[in-house]
């Protein structure tokens, strides 16, 4: 089967499942008994297996299969989760990640069999004692698969699947009447061979064979339509009314070629489930990939809670938390959209707005036509809302990016032999998709930096009277049009003298400069290219490529990064990012008759200053603003236009800042605040240093965006 078209979906979903597994296993480490977590892990592993199998990645499938087996035992209480098992599981996840990366790069999973891991997993399985009955949860667990490796257990797998089928009232009635009239009701589970190419055709033949024997198929799972459309994994379940013995039906179905096995049993109509007993029937199929095992997805704990007779162990498991289930949120109803499509949608909306604006200006002449004006106002509000909606579509929570960090810190704990804990808040903070994609690496650098250089070893912490376990915080929140992400630790802080000495040693500054340097400036040396204070090179935090890369990456996203630190108490790294790359809030100003936009994010205040108050320092104009001496920038000279002569000798000055630096920009006129869409000037115009782009104003005119950071 050609599956290449599904590759992208496969990769996306695999990554999601892996992230989820990472999260859940971390959770499991804290609460080894938590049934929800175990179920979640089980489901994710199962989906992964199904997907890998469908795509033909055998090694990946084998590994997930064994993981799933272990979980199935954990879930039924036959194996206890221990720290060594958690370690093994994490290694498995790493191995799966490796497969995924290989697939991404070469659409081949690679040749690593990961035998040691599989062996370890099987040891857990064997360790639980051979005499125990196969977990009752296993049927549901291994239901979707007919993987050869699961033969021992799949002998009874699927045996009770028909007990999980939900009936509506009319179907129950049909079944009841059939029984009364002496017919039999059977549940039959048919498993198609995994190698089978035309699953739907085989399934159709099975259905036909059963009907030929006089069987009437009352219910099927998945629905007959889905079976026809091949929307099932490798098995499907039927409820059949027939006169003939069950064996006849099984025989007829088994005679169809490429059928792995057919199992069946009479159904006890009293014990079947009505549809409304099921609290969240839609939840499970939805979270599964289409390619994954939708039919086997319904969580086993759910039917167990509704007293399915064949799942006592699962019921016992779930019994502890029966109330938790119905409250479990339905998985997000989302679709995947190529970002390029959103970009083109965005462009269309911009065009629409410009077209609307020209309508507005065309109509402004005809004031007498009220009706027309009203309609234009309506159009205006619709386009504004449309614009906002499209912008919102591009926003995604940073959650996906930061999810992997707890795992990373956990690994660093072991690697560095330190004790530390990561606390995260604000994972739901949203940023433009393009920013979220880029922010992962810088954040990882900062966290590693905190873990490696910040947090002290347990002994030193004890000496200093700090709790033995170090804390690292990752906090994200929105502040106006910016999103702030803070990485904070209660570690050693930055040793300014050590930084200075290192900088002198590296030749970044001279000893004289160092002596005169303020602490703040010294700390900023950390962002200097080729600077690392780590005494030894470790694989944790870099070889002197680190903080400068962080800085340049964040600046490339039009953001900024700063650090505050108190020696002995810890450091705080603050990343400030614009909400979106495409849209910013600006102040429109006029200089020499031309309109320019200045990002509100870099504006401190706006002042009216008398020409008489301008002083000269080293022949340059400065102003004294509340005790602070700021350079004055005559922007008209830079852009080569005549400024308007000041009225009554008063100048309008926009005070801009970049980090701690400030300056005053003299403008002719202020035109108020405006949200603008940033456009590039294109390839023909070589980068003008202080122009960061252009935007199209409401009337269709183009205005340039002043990059005040380049002026400071």
């Amino acid at each position: 089967m050609d599956v290449s078209q599904y590759l992208e979906i496969f990769l996306d979903e695999t990554n999601e499942h892996l992230q989820n597994l990472n999260k859940q296993i971390l959770n499991l480490e804290q609460n080894p008994e938590d049934a929800d977590t175990i179920n979640e892990i089980f489901r994710a592993a199962h989906s992964l297996k199904g997907m890998a199998g469908t795509m033909g990645y055998k090694r990946m499938q084998n590994l997930t299969h064994d993981m799933e087996n272990v979980f199935s035992e954990v879930r039924s209480g036959n194996i206890k989760v221990g720290p060594d098992m958690i370690d093994t599981l994490f290694q498995c996840l790493d191995a799966l990640q490796e497969y995924t990366d290989n697939i991404k790069n070469s659409s081949d999973e690679g040749t690593n069999e990961n035998e040691p891991l599989i062996k370890l997993l099987n040891e857990y399985l064997e360790g639980k004692g051979a005499g125990e009955a196969p977990a009752a949860a296993a049927p549901a667990a291994s239901s979707g698969d007919a993987a050869p490796a699961s033969d021992s257990k799949s002998s009874d797998s699927g045996n009770d699947k028909w007990n999980q089928i939900k009936f509506d009232d009319s179907q129950v009635k049909v079944l009841g009447e059939a029984l009364k009239s002496g017919m039999k009701v059977y549940g039959i589970n048919v498993t198609v061979k995994e190698s089978c190419i035309l699953k739907a055709a085989r399934a159709f033949l099975v259905l036909k064979a059963i009907e030929e024997k006089g069987g009437e198929i009352v219910v099927s799972n998945p629905s007959s339509q889905d079976i026809e459309d091949e929307k099932f994994d490798f098995d499907f379940t039927l409820i059949v009314i027939a006169e003939c013995p069950l064996d006849d039906l099984i025989k007829a179905a088994s005679d169809v070629s490429e059928i792995e096995k057919v199992v069946g049993a009479p159904v006890d109509v009293d014990k079947i489930h009505l549809e409304d007993e099921e609290p969240a029937p839609a939840a499970a199929p939805q979270e599964e990939a289409p390619a994954a095992s939708a039919p086997s997805a319904p969580s086993p704990a759910v039917p167990a809670a509704s007293s399915a007779p064949a799942a006592p162990a699962a019921a016992a498991n779930a019994a502890g938390k029966p109330a938790a289930k119905p409250g479990k949120p339905v998985v997000n109803r989302t679709i995947r959209v190529d970002i390029e499509k959103l970009d083109s949608l965005m462009n269309l909306v911009s065009e629409l707005i410009i077209a609307k604006n020209s309508l507005v200006s065309a109509s402004s002449g005809s004031a007498e036509n009220n009706d027309f004006n009203e309609k234009i106002e309506y159009l205006e509000s619709v386009t504004t809302n449309l614009h906002e909606s499209v912008m919102k579509v591009r926003m995604v929570p940073i959650e996906n990016t930061v999810q992997k960090f707890p795992r990373m810190i956990r690994d660093l704990n072991k690697k560095l032999g330190k004790k530390m804990e990561l606390y995260m808040t604000g994972e739901d903070t949203e940023l433009d998709r393009t920013v979220v994609d880029e922010i992962g690496d810088p954040l990882m650098h900062l966290l590693r930096n905190s873990a490696d250089h910040g947090i002290e070893s347990a002994e030193i912490r004890a000496e200093r009277g700090k709790p033995e376990t170090g804390s690292i915080f990752l906090d994200a929140y929105q502040e106006g049009n910016n999103v702030i992400i803070e990485v904070r630790d209660d570690g050693n802080g930055i040793d300014v003298e050590a930084v200075k000495n290192k900088a002198i040693e590296k030749g970044v500054i001279t000893p004289e400069q160092a002596a005169a340097m303020a602490d703040k400036d010294a700390i900023n040396l950390l962002f200097h290219p080729g600077f690392s204070t780590a005494k030894e090179i470790t694989d944790v935090s870099g070889r002197g490529v680190g903080l400068d890369v962080v800085k340049s990456k964040i600046e490339a996203l039009s953001g900024e990064v700063s650090v505050k630190s108190v020696l002995g108490e810890g450091s705080t790294w603050t990343i400030r990012l614009p909400l979106t790359l495409a849209i910013i809030q600006t102040l429109m100003v006029v200089v020499g008759g031309e309109k320019y936009a200045i990002s509100l994010g870099s504006i401190e205040t706006i002042e009216t200053i008398s020409e008489k108050d301008i002083k000269f320092v080293e022949n340059k104009e400065v102003i004294n603003l509340r005790g602070q001496v700021l350079p004055l920038i005559r922007i008209n000279e830079l852009i080569e236009v005549e400024a308007k002569p000041p009225v009554d000798g008063m100048l309008t000055v926009v005070i801009v800042k970049k980090g701690d630096k400030m300056a005053g920009i003299v403008v002719d006129e202020l035109r108020g605040q405006q949200e603008i869409v940033i456009k590039s000037l294109g390839k023909y115009i070589k980068q003008v240093k202080f122009i960061s782009g252009a935007t199209i104003l409401g009337d269709g005119e183009v205005a340039l965006i002043l990059d005040t950071n380049a002026l400071l």
Binding site: N347, S350, E594, I685, V688, A694
Partner: protein, 164 residues
Amino acid sequence: MELSNDLKNLPASGDETKIVKEIFQYIVISLGDEDFGIDINYIDNILRMQQITRVPKVPAYLKGVINLRGEVIPVMSLRLKMGLSEDEIGRDTRIIILKVESEGSIGVLVDEVKEVIKLSEDQIESTTPEGGTPEARKFVSAVGKNGDQLISILDIGTINLDDI
């Protein structure tokens, strides 16, 4: 030259339909006293004169940027590029949007757009003209004969790829 080579490779004209295939279409524009032809395949759009936003610190022939259907497009003066005098913006001034695959769109200011002409192989001669400014000669790849009128054909590739 590339253009004429293409023309030579075309099959000999036989019947009417084949002749149509061999014919190249040019838009005739005027800059000062001279007429130039631009291959119609390069042309995306012809706009009336509109407000051009000046961009500081760029060469003089780059007049600035305009808004074309929501995109910001640079506009340059062909006159200045060719060493002629500064444009005089009038009623007939047009901005021709040229599209070059790799470089995106660029607008060029012309005094007037006159007509669309069809020239066949034998009407195009790939000689570098002797008249005009040295800059102008650089951009002319061939000369077309439209009746008794001579039209210098602009090599758009040279205009665009030149270091702007």
